[in-house]
């Protein structure tokens, strides 16, 4: 490493690595240099001039955000000249700024307010009337108020660099400069709202939150997003048991502040008019509202009758209930109901991956990538998925890795993906729709990503005719390049299942470099469902159950005595098809909405969403994070509580133990392999990677059962149907 540079800032001796910016070097000795446009991780702009400092032997004030440290440099940040510069910069910024702070969304958490408070001049010498332009609506979620804008370019840069979309720009010149969207008067982008979160003032505001409340009236609850498997932390701003906004205020956990439209805005399913808030029971062939006591009594009685009659039970678990709920559910199924017919909808072949990797202990830990690894490791290979649309956080990390570290990215996908724009090599696999015949079914493409900020151009893998042979042929083409990499992360989706996963792992091992793996899965706790043993062949922690058991589709087809569905919609009709026929004698469903499955049920129990409960989720990379209850919805109960109440009603509660999330989590930490994570990290909102690898998993493979929904940015399985914001974005695009 190069020698450290010695300099002085405000009389304090500072040592910093060459290339460090003065603004960052100052932080290390507790000197804060104010800035609007400087933002860690983004390119430098030097637009706001707030960070001007005095440097000895330099004739003018310098911008600390672009000035690298130099040996012997003497910097002063608190001289009268610097103080005056700050005052005048703020006076300029406020020339046309409307000072509508009392009604501005940002009032109270506005950087311009804070800066004016600390460094401002108190009064302005400008006496002319302020120039005003009306606010504009860029999209269903993004509003722009030009007079409030201070032109720091943060939104432009986060969109262009962070998201790789580039939907915002600055047009015109001087005092009439303003932010402009990419399609004339509107945006066509990911609608992620990163521009709104990063705006230091109230220029960009969100359609969901604007004019709803004052920030200080809210309670801020950091929890985990309920949509995809990436597990971003979202901070829900709540007031009077209502969620008013989601943002990245709490930047703990895996995501470090990143959110897409789902995490930031798609919490709005929770108060959808169709939300179930009363239990339903079938009477004379119709579902009628009943009390919780009655619904639980019916359920417990029917379960008991089925037990006594030695009837078969089926249990279908969920991809978006907590680890605690999944663990307790499988314990209930196996210990109380005595059944091994328990399964859930699998979206990635995690079992095959763990089986193929084999190793346990610390060596095993080295084989599984974390979200942070996607930012750190030198090379990334993406197989199948359109990461930017299906796994926005992972894609964000990979993009940042390329921007900051020039990592080599390889994408082997059926359609064009955003990664093409900066990949070392991209390969299209499969045959174009309708084409027949022989010849190579893969083709390298270079640097012309067509997915430039248009998520509606989502190429659904199901529309492609791709065989794994195509993928492996493409991989052979990449072999020499990959061998030359010092290390690699491989991400693959449901294109690889069973023996194909094993073959893929063999390919990875044959490269002779350290390889870390991510098996992509769909929903917020898909990994947790498998880890907790919601599978007939597996107990929690990937212990083979050694018992026969029906899989999900077998349960639907079998004349079971009773079928218990928790947070899943197995009777959802296939695209263009019909729902499977109900065969079970007694069907009880726990869900938030009257789904196709709930409509067929004998008893429907209204469940709390993950924003209304405590517990833990395990994300796509196996990292565990804690959910915190943000609001309560009257009439609903968390699934764990419902399961516990059914146990109590059946007189089985003592055998199962307490159903408090913390108590069940402790049991999981003690009993489930790989889940002995440090409790303080989890309790304080951090993420800890679980270590489930421990040798081969001796279970029979069942290829073909794994099916990813490949939800894009504006879809989220059954849940997505009930989000107004996701639907409004889709409608706004259809209308054009």
């Amino acid at each position: 490493m190069a020698d450290l540079v010695n300099l002085t800032i405000d009389g304090k001796a500072v040592q910093a690595a060459p290339g460090t910016l003065v603004i960052d070097a100052a932080k290390t000795v507790g000197v804060e240099i104010p800035a609007f446009c400087y933002y860690e991780g983004l390119s430098l702009q030097a637009a706001c001039r707030m960070c001007l400092v005095e440097v000895e032997k330099m004739p003018k004030l310098m911008t600390a955000c672009t000035l690298p440290v130099a040996e012997g440099m003497v910097v002063r940040t608190e001289t009268p000249q610097v103080a005056a510069a700050r005052k005048y910069m703020l006076e300029f910024l406020l020339t046309n700024h409307p000072l509508d702070c009392p009604v501005c969304d940002k009032g109270g958490e506005c950087e311009l307010q804070d800066m004016t408070f600390r460094y401002g001049i108190g009064e302005s010498r400008f006496t002319d009337e302020k120039a005003h332009t009306p606010e504009k609506q860029f999209s269903p979620v993004v509003f722009y108020d030009a007079p409030r804008c201070i032109l720091c370019y943060r939104c432009v840069r986060i969109c262009n660099e962070g998201l790789g979309v580039g939907a915002l720009g600055v047009i015109n010149r001087g005092v009439v400069s303003e932010i402009a969207p990419n399609k004339g008067d509107h945006l066509e982008c990911d609608e992620c709202g990163a521009c709104i979160d990063i705006c230091p003032v109230g220029a960009l505001t969100s359609g969901i939150y604007r004019y709803k409340t004052r920030p200080w009236e809210m309670t801020h609850v950091g929890t985990v997003c309920t949509h995809c498997a990436d597990g971003c932390k979202t901070t829900l701003g709540t007031r009077n048991d209502r969620i008013l906004r989601g943002n990245n205020r709490d930047s703990s956990g895996v995501s470090d502040g990143f959110l897409c439209i789902k995490g930031r805005y798609a919490f709005d399913f929770y108060d959808h008019p169709e939300r179930l808030t009363t239990p339903l029971a079938r009477k004379n062939g119709k579902l009628e509202e009943v009390s919780w006591a009655e619904a639980l009594e019916i359920t417990a009685r029917k379960f008991r009758e089925n037990l006594d009659a030695r009837g078969a039970f089926g249990v279908i678990g969920s991809n978006h209930t907590t680890n605690e709920e999944n663990y307790y559910l499988q314990k209930f199924a196996r210990q109380v109901l005595g059944t091994n017919h328990i399964d859930h909808h699998r979206t990635g072949d995690v079992v095959a991956l763990f089986d193929a990797l084999g190793e346990g202990g610390s060596a095993g830990r080295e084989k599984l990538a974390t979200v942070a690894d996607l930012y750190k490791l030198k090379a990334v290979l993406i197989l199948g998925a359109d990461l930017a649309l299906e796994h926005p956080l992972l894609s964000f990390q990979v993009r940042a890795n390329y921007r900051h570290h020039r990592a080599h990215i390889y994408a082997v996908t059926p359609g064009s993906v955003r990664e093409d724009k900066y990949s070392a090599m991209s390969i299209r696999v499969g045959a174009p729709a309708g084409s027949a015949g022989s010849g190579p079914r893969w083709e390298p493409v270079s640097g012309s990503g067509s997915a430039d900020g248009d998520p509606s151009g989502f190429y659904h893998p199901r529309n492609a005719e791709v065989s794994t042979a195509d993928y492996f042929a493409a991989l052979e083409h990449l072999r020499d390049k990959l061998k030359a990499e010092p290390e690699l992360v491989i991400l693959f989706d449901d294109s690889f299942q069973g023996n194909d996963v094993r073959r893929l792992v063999e390919f990875g091992n044959s490269l002779g470099i350290p390889v870390r793996w991510v098996c992509l899965v769909d929903y917020s706790n898909s990994r947790g469902a498998l880890d907790m043993g919601i599978a007939p062949e597996l107990l929690p922690g990937y212990e083979p159950s050694g018992q026969p058991g029906m899989r999900l589709h077998e349960m639907l087809a079998a004349p079971l005595g009773a079928l218990w569905v928790v947070g899943a919609n197995p009777y959802e009709p296939a695209p263009g098809g019909t729902s499977p026929e109900r065969r079970a004698g007694f069907l009880v469903v726990q869900d938030m909405f009257l789904t196709e499955t709930a409509r067929l049920a004998d008893v429907v129990l209204p469940a709390a969403s993950s924003y209304e409960k405590n517990g833990t989720f395990t994300n796509v990379t196996g990292e565990l994070q804690r959910l915190k209850r943000a609001v309560n919805v009257m009439g609903t109960k968390p699934d764990l509580e419902i399961i516990g109440f059914i146990a109590r009603e059946m007189g089985a509660a003592a055998a199962l133990g307490p159903w408090a999330p913390d108590a069940v989590f402790e049991e999981i930490r003690k009993n489930v392999r790989g889940y002995d994570v440090p409790a303080p990290v989890i309790a304080s909102g951090g993420a800890a990677q679980t270590a489930p690898l421990n040798g081969r998993i001796a279970v029979e493979a069942a290829p073909g059962l794994v099916r990813s929904e490949h939800n894009g940015l504006f879809a989220s399985g059954t849940l997505g149907r009930y989000s107004r914001v996701l639907n409004s974005v889709l409608e706004s695009r259809v209308g054009r």
Partner: protein
């Protein structure tokens, strides 16, 4: 969108005038040349130039809206540019501007009904030594007086 063979050749040369990967540097000259041929920087021109140098149409628009000599709408066949910057102003540039506005009954960047003449108040065009100066398309006229301006305008009318 295709341009005349001459312009295509010019673009070809422009794209090789910069180091590899810096083709976006050709943006302003391409826009200017395209404007001369097409009459304005139309939506099609924006998309085409963006495609050729590998930037987004929004990025073209950012540059385009910054520079006053790039026009989104067609100007007249003769675009009369009157400088009112400091040297010209001291020598009566502002009077010239008032005169031309009154004479043609036009405002800044407006075009006569027949599409022949348009006027624009511009900043310094580097002719301070011969102030006040005006520019008609790419031709300079020095030491202009209101009378001389009338002659120039009459001359333009005759040329039509």
């Amino acid at each position: 969108m295709t341009f005349s063979p001459e312009l295509e050749a010019r673009f070809e040369k422009l794209l090789t005038s910069y180091p590899p990967g810096r083709q976006r540097s050709a943006l302003i000259p391409m826009l200017l040349y395209a404007q001369d041929e097409v009459g304005s920087v139309s939506d099609e021109v924006i998309d085409e130039v963006a495609r050729r140098i590998g930037v987004t149409p929004l990025q073209v628009n950012e540059v385009l809206s910054y520079y006053t000599m790039l026009h989104r709408k067609p100007m007249g066949k003769y675009h009369v540019q009157v400088c009112t910057n400091i040297s010209c102003l001291l020598n009566g540039g502002d009077k010239l501007w008032e005169h031309v506005c009154k004479r043609l009954d036009l405002g800044n960047k407006e075009v006569t009904e027949d599409g022949q003449i348009s006027i624009e108040e511009v900043e310094c065009m580097g002719a301070c030594s011969w102030a006040p100066a005006i520019q008609v398309n790419y031709d300079f006229h020095h030491f202009v007086t209101p009378e001389k301006l009338d002659e120039i305008l009459d001359g333009l009318r005759k040329k039509q």
